[in-house]
Symmetry: C2
Subunit: 242 residues, 2 copies
């Protein structure tokens, strides 16, 4: 069995499927994202994707080695869409804040695709572009290389982690989400002070607080800490310098 997957550039015969669709890596990724957004993450299966494309599932394996590789392609497309339209202002802190909020918003806008792809390193074009951009912001701001990487890592992990967390509940079917919200009111808010004094004392705050995302606060926390580090490293450099 020679190579099953043929790179896009090496493809020569664009043969339409029985239903007249001309397949391509892009079309497959596009259709997959549409499927996820419209019918939920569970709706994405090789067979359903084939059906949605108007093709047999098996030729998909001539474009992606396995489902996982397709997932990575979807993830990268998501990154690309998130970055599209963004322009740096030159203020590193403002830029990072904007990027973080965009990534978070992007995850919320494509909740199902986000939950699927948040934890993967794609190594594809858009992701590489994003990494280069963020590292550039930090290094241009004056962060030493090692420190820039540390901040980059913390920043990206945080955006991905909260993006996945917050979009996961968005992706739940409505009744499940309502049931979820009710647990705080129906279960926690009713615990007696005798057995659970701390929960009982704060029940009102709990019900109110657990509805909102804690990401913006966490992001600002991170940026403030980074700023402090930057000031430190500048002071150190001045000392060593001359």
């Amino acid at each position: 069995m020679s190579e099953r997957v043929v790179p896009a550039t090496a493809r020569q015969r664009r043969r339409p499927t029985k239903q007249g669709v001309v397949l391509s890596g892009e079309l497959i990724v596009e259709t997959a994202m549409r499927l996820i957004e419209e019918h939920g993450a569970d709706a994405l299966s090789v067979r359903r994707l084939g059906r949605a494309l108007g093709a047999d599932p098996s030729p998909l394996y001539r474009y992606f080695r396995h489902t996982d590789e397709l997932m990575l392609a979807i993830a990268d497309e998501l990154i690309g869409r998130t970055l599209r339209g963004w322009r740096p202002t030159g203020d590193w802190r403002a830029d990072l804040r904007e990027l973080g909020l965009r990534m978070h918003a992007g995850a919320l806008a494509h909740p199902r695709a986000a939950t699927l792809s948040a934890h993967r390193v794609t190594g594809r074009t858009y992701e590489i572009q994003a990494v280069e951009t963020i590292l550039g912001i930090l290094r241009n701001a004056g962060f030493p290389d090692a420190e820039a990487v540390r901040v980059y890592h913390a920043f990206v992990d945080q955006a991905l982690a909260y993006g996945a967390l917050d979009s996961a509940s968005t992706a739940l079917p409505k009744p499940a989400r309502d049931a979820e919200a009710d647990v705080w009111r129906a279960t926690y808010a009713r615990l007696p002070a005798t057995s659970h004094p701390h929960i009982a004392a704060t029940a009102r705050h709990l019900v109110a607080s657990m509805r909102n995302s804690s990401y913006p606060a966490a992001l600002d926390l991170l940026l403030t800490a980074a700023e402090a580090r930057l000031a430190q490293s500048r002071a150190g450099k001045r000392l060593v310098g001359d």
Copy 2:
């Protein structure tokens, strides 16, 4: 069809399976966790679980409505184990740090349960116990109720978000996980400085840093911020006091 799932207390006839095993909710959860620990997250399926128990898969549905409910039970057991053996020292910051690290480690040990439960509230006994414990630490440390809830929320979300993020890769099939680890070395570390100057300049640091979780750093950041808030609120109270 009357109720299929019978609550543990209402069970009356303990009938052994063909292979002589007496089923119970506890035994099922225990076996499921053992399966995950011994053969990876992928090894957990209703059918395999049945086989491991020495029983047909179908009676499991007399104990849990569906796989999801089993996962929640596993998640709660996970919380229970996390707390078991932990003793408060009286130093709120050290206690929270220890709890956070334990939660994170627990998530890594049981990735599938962690991923599932990160954005869900189980409302089960161990979860309630954990909420009560954490709120108690904060209130005893002197955090006012509203502030205690705010810190609680940030702390828990962070632990869950990073737990899910970091454990998601653990839940991947082995080949995918290996490929993942290689992307930084094989793809990023080889980008030319001409096209990607910032990545090229920091490649060495990237390869080293991206292996580790950024959770411990993020946790310390959060605790430091909380400590500052606590000092502020104490100062405010003194002012208002007399």
